[in-house]
Symmetry: C5
Subunit: 83 residues, 5 copies
């Protein structure tokens, strides 16, 4: 798992059925790498969140058949980015 920061929402109107209506968040690592995660917890922009990949990501969603490979699975209480 990794700790990433929520920087935006992703609007993706045209999507495959397997993605359902799940919320999508744009995340950024401390090194500036950008990725997109499904969000079952409602994490606001600015928060540092814990994310999981692959099958673990699907186990984080209310419906484990949701077509995701990266999901937010928690909001970190306190995170100090490396200086």
């Amino acid at each position: 798992m990794e700790v990433l920061q929520v920087i935006d929402d992703l609007v993706c109107t045209r999507r495959v059925p397997g993605l359902g209506a799940v919320s999508l968040r744009v995340l950024q690592s401390e090194q500036g790498v950008v990725s997109v995660a499904s969000d079952p917890v409602g994490a606001p922009v600015g928060k540092w969140v814990l994310v999981a990949t692959g099958t673990a990501a699907r186990l984080a969603m209310p419906d484990p058949l949701t077509m995701t490979d990266l999901a937010i699975c928690g909001i970190v209480d306190h995170w100090e980015p490396a200086p």
Copy 2:
């Protein structure tokens, strides 16, 4: 998941049966990394698309046994590449 740009179609006449007749797109990341995805949505060249890897990619296809490890799962409404 990641947001990548469609830059071309891939023609691959000789292929294994598991790949069926699915459309293949050449994608490029903002950093210039090139990959190939199966495309169940018909994404045109130039569009920024959301892609998923691994088992999630197969869940994006009409037939989940399609032999893919990267699939387009949505067309992003608006994407601003990092400057």
Copy 3:
């Protein structure tokens, strides 16, 4: 698998149900890359641990449906970081 060093605990009060109450450790590679693992063995800060990813990570947990993609699966007896 990889050998990483435990550098901290991760406090994540708000989490998805699939993560249960498992202990989370912040790990660092010799190159300084930071990640987060579930810890079924109780590895103390400072120790070098063996970690596994993906489905293997879940097989390391007492409950294999734990939503993790990185788990500590052993404490290395002796590890000499590269000079």
Copy 4:
């Protein structure tokens, strides 16, 4: 998926039973990264091939229990390496 070039065969006489007698090819990316794939299509040296990873690689093989994590799944009709 990715497009890689076949540069050699790999001879591996002593192997685990799960690998059977499948043909193995040494592949190289445009950036020079070397990997090894199982080859169900008989791709000759010099060709640019489409490869898939993980479970998708096994779905490309005649026997989906073949112990592979990278398989050639097609021969690309035409590929122009980036200049």
Copy 5:
């Protein structure tokens, strides 16, 4: 799959039950990246071996529920590291 060189054994006395008593080898890539693999073939230090990741790694083990994400699946007859 990849070709890596065995450089050491890994002693890991305290381990999760899923790892059983399998032999662990420290491997190094030509670029110097270090990883740890389960070894069902008994590969001696110095040999170049073929390794597989993920579910394929488990299919290489006598017991496919072994908690590994990297397994040696063959000993390469001859390997010439890039100059």
